[in-house]
């Protein structure tokens, strides 16, 4: 057991305690949380900063507003409903079509008006928000995902997660929905996570849970070796999200739209650690490289250059041998 502990420490694997204690508590001030926890605020900030996000159609703020839904989506047969404070994709409904009074979700289920109203009122009452506080529902553009990922995802929208440490993109992965995850890009539910080489934007092998997979379980196509288009744009908008929020340790979720290119879906102030498994690399090593050599006041372009230079997969051990993760 101690051997494994040592082994993980040597590999620079970031544990929950260390992530919380040394990075989130230190670099993500509590007062900034609303900026990322409220997707509506994030969206408005991003728009102001010129970062591309899915277009906002409307906001459902009260029980009364629910009736306004048909009016909001009058010109948009396809749209997504998102609780502004939802976490991990909870409560998101994506509608890809309508027939008379029914809505068809992306997975093909038909929902009647009644069901959708109930769902919306649950969301407004805070069923999906942290701590059950009152919430609002965002009605926005439904991302038409790029055909690029069609071969390695099952329904749903694959999204790209980039961990940004004080403005430096340090690790990224793509989350590919599977049948098991009900078309959701959620690793907990069985989506495939595949690391992305930060330097080139080419995918690596994937993992389901903690198991390494080389092919998508549903489509059986090889996961690795896919070059993600607009990779430099993705890195650029991710890096700029640091200035957007001021938070030093965030996960930026980006989707690739067929027509609009990379769009920022949401920011996460407590990004998960599974990205390490997807990349088969510890985050700590990269965090330390940043701490040792990075110029934190550099502009975004310089930061990206640094990241692409330093974090070319695989990243070797930190030169200065340091004891990491000692028992406090």
């Amino acid at each position: 057991m101690f051997g494994r502990y040592r082994g993980l420490a040597d590999e620079g694997v970031l544990g929950l305690n260390k992530r919380n204690g040394d990075y989130i508590l230190r670099f993500n001030p509590r007062r900034l949380y609303p900026l990322v926890d409220d997707k509506l605020k994030t969206k408005r900030l991003a728009l102001a900063a010129g970062i591309a996000v899915p277009q906002l159609y409307g906001v459902i703020e009260t029980q009364h507003d629910i009736r306004r839904l048909p009016e909001i989506v009058k010109d948009h047969p396809e749209f997504a409903l998102k609780p502004a404070h939802g976490s991990a994709g909870d409560g998101i409904v994506v509608i890809s079509g309508r027939s008379s009074h029914r809505y068809r979700t992306i997975s093909g289920t038909l929902l009647d008006d009644d069901f959708l109203s109930h769902h919306l009122s649950n969301a407004i009452n805070g069923q999906f928000s942290l701590g059950g506080v009152q919430d609002v529902v965002i009605v926005e553009y439904m991302v038409r995902f790029s055909p690029l990922f069609e071969r390695i995802s099952y329904q749903g929208v694959p999204d790209i997660r980039v961990i940004v440490y004080r403005g430096f993109p340090i690790m990224s992965m793509v989350r590919l929905p599977t049948r098991q995850s009900h078309g959701k890009a959620n690793l907990h539910q069985g989506a495939v996570g595949a690391g992305i080489d930060l330097a080139s934007g080419v995918t690596l092998d994937g993992v389901v849970g903690t198991q390494v997979v080389t092919h998508h379980p549903d489509t059986t196509h090889a996961i690795s070796g896919l070059k993600i288009p607009d990779w430099d744009v993705i890195l650029d908008i991710s890096a700029r999200c640091y200035e957007l929020t001021g938070m030093g340790y965030i996960g930026v979720d980006v989707v690739l739209d067929r027509d609009l290119g990379p769009l920022v879906l949401e920011l996460n102030a407590r990004p998960g650690l599974a990205i390490q498994i997807a990349n088969r690399q510890g985050l700590l090593r990269r965090l330390k490289i940043c701490d040792e050599r990075a110029n934190f006041s550099a502009p975004a372009a310089e930061r990206i250059a640094f990241a692409q230079r330093e974090f070319c997969h695989p990243v070797g051990p930190v030169l200065a041998t340091q004891t990491v993760a000692s028992v406090a």
């Binding site: 993980l8 040597d10 929950l16 305690n17 069923q127 993760a325 406090a328």
Partner: protein
């Protein structure tokens, strides 16, 4: 906030906690074990006399300076007598007075004493005694004896022993027999020794006391010779010449006078009796703290009413339960519903016992979940739905209680303390996780919560721990110290070693 600050803070907290703990357990004698008992002796003096026609004044000498023992409690029992205690050269005196009395009278003095090693004869160094006033032949005999004994001895202790030996063999010793023939024929060994010691300028006095036995019944008072060697009092048995205070010997009064005296009456008779009993150590410690003027008791839970104490006996264990959960979550990595929900469930287990608690929890949560899934179909708003679930939970609990009453199952009745609101929230959270993340995740977290609750229950139920925390609440400072330290633990959680096993280099398997 750097780590040194954290270390210093927790070290200070731990130090304060441990110091208070050590003081209370070692100095004040608070028991470290539950139901620990201390031997306590009840000593009693019964003073009987026949009053004369006029006013009566009875004086009883009572214990005061009792090396090795402390008085827990004392009382004076008399009917109609005026009563006062005062200090006197012999120690303390209790005085009973009555203007007119008829028929034989009995007065009682009763005291509870317990062993107290910290109590030593702390009275001041006595002045040099005055030389006894004697006639010429006696004085010559005394000086001769002193000169001879001094020749045979090295210090005060050996002088006293030698002197007592001479006195005990009076018939063979010319000086002593001469001395005794000059008018001190009735004096006993101890009295003679004090006279001779006074002649040799050594402070000495007679101590009267009783042997504290485990057998209940009357005891005879015994004499000890106390001699001051310039530093401390030494004790000698005048008959056996043994030095030192015999074990379980309670010094009652000092001096040549008898234990009691009477004015205005006759047939004075004093009987002493002793009885041993066991008393909760806590009572003794409390009393001791009170007597020593310590403030430890002022902040003790024992100053609260009994009913409140019972509540605190439980409340004080909640931090321990929270500590267990903290360890399980942050060091092991067990997932639970709600941070401290398992503590409350563990508290409920106290009433139901573990097995029944788990069964009841499982039954209520699964029935609640069924209802919740049905309610999902009705598409109720969140708060009304929660209210419904809560009400259903209460009804379920009532149903279980009534059913178990019919089936004569006792544990079903103790369900009342089950935290219903917490259960309702658990049901709600669980059903959402069930829907959003799948059944396996929900059941996993549910079992995790139950497991953590069970562990917390077992730890919180350790009687010894409960006793320690209740008697020494300062130990909770240690809990804070540990929590603060744990708050800066940034190492891996145990379950993460498995979660990230794919990342561990293959060379270092477990």
């Amino acid at each position: 906030m750097n780590n040194r600050h954290i270390y210093v803070l927790s070290a200070v907290l731990a130090l304060i906690g441990l110091t208070l703990f050590a003081y209370k357990s070692q100095v004040l004698g608070f028991p470290l074990q539950p139901q620990e008992q201390t031997r306590v002796w009840t000593v009693e003096a019964a003073v009987r006399f026949d009053p004369g026609p006029a006013a009566v004044k009875a004086t009883l000498r009572i214990p005061n300076l009792t090396p090795g023992f402390s008085i827990l409690d004392e009382n004076f029992i008399s009917r109609g007598f005026g009563h006062a205690t005062r200090s006197a050269p012999a120690g303390r005196e209790s005085q009973w007075t009555l203007r007119e009395a008829s028929g034989p009278q009995t007065l009682y003095y009763r005291a509870q004493v317990y062993r107290d090693a910290s109590r030593i004869a702390e009275d001041t160094t006595p002045p040099f005694p005055e030389r006894p006033v004697l006639d010429e032949p006696s004085r010559i005999a005394m000086e001769g004896l002193i000169a001879e004994v001094r020749r045979q001895s090295a210090d005060v202790a050996s002088f006293t022993t030698e002197l007592l030996r001479h006195i005990n063999h009076a018939e063979r010793d010319p000086y002593v027999s001469l001395f005794m023939s000059r008018g001190s024929a009735n004096a006993d060994a101890a009295e003679l020794a004090t006279i001779f010691l006074a002649g040799a300028q050594i402070p000495a006095r007679i101590a009267h006391g009783i042997q504290l036995r485990s057998v209940t019944g009357p005891v005879q008072s015994q004499q000890l010779l106390e001699v001051h060697d310039g530093v401390q009092w030494l004790y000698f048995d005048p008959k056996t010449l043994e030095q030192g205070l015999p074990p379980d010997f309670l010094i009652w009064w000092r001096g040549d006078e008898p234990i009691a005296s009477l004015e205005g009456g006759g047939n004075l008779d004093v009987t002493l009796a002793v009885q041993q009993n066991l008393l909760d150590s806590i009572v003794v410690a409390e009393r001791r703290a009170e007597l020593t003027g310590s403030h430890a008791m002022d902040f003790s839970l024992f100053s609260l009413p009994i009913a409140t104490q019972a509540v605190y006996a439980v409340l004080m264990m909640i931090p321990i339960g929270a500590l267990v959960i903290m360890l399980l979550r942050n060091f092991i990595g067990v997932k639970t519903f709600g941070t401290f929900m398992p503590v409350l469930v563990a508290l409920a287990f106290r009433e139901t016992r573990l097995l029944w608690g788990i069964v009841l929890f499982a039954v209520i949560v699964s029935l609640g979940l069924l209802i919740r899934f049905y309610l999902e179909k009705l598409r109720l708003l969140l708060v009304p739905r929660l209210t419904t679930v809560l009400t259903v939970v209460v009804l379920l609990m009532m149903g279980i209680s009534v059913l178990s009453q019919k089936l004569e199952l006792q544990p079903g009745l103790s369900i009342a303390l089950f935290p219903m609101v917490i259960l309702s929230m658990t049901i709600e959270r669980m059903s959402i996780v069930w829907e959003e993340r799948g059944a396996s995740e929900a059941i996993q977290e549910g079992i995790g919560s139950l497991l953590v609750a069970a562990v917390a229950y077992v730890v919180m139920g350790i009687a010894w721990l409960e006793h320690l925390i209740f008697v020494f609440p300062e130990l909770l400072l240690l809990v804070i110290a540990v929590s603060i330290l744990a708050g800066r633990y940034t190492g891996y959680r145990l379950l993460e070693l498995w979660r990230f096993k794919a990342l561990a280099p293959s060379r270092s398997g477990p």
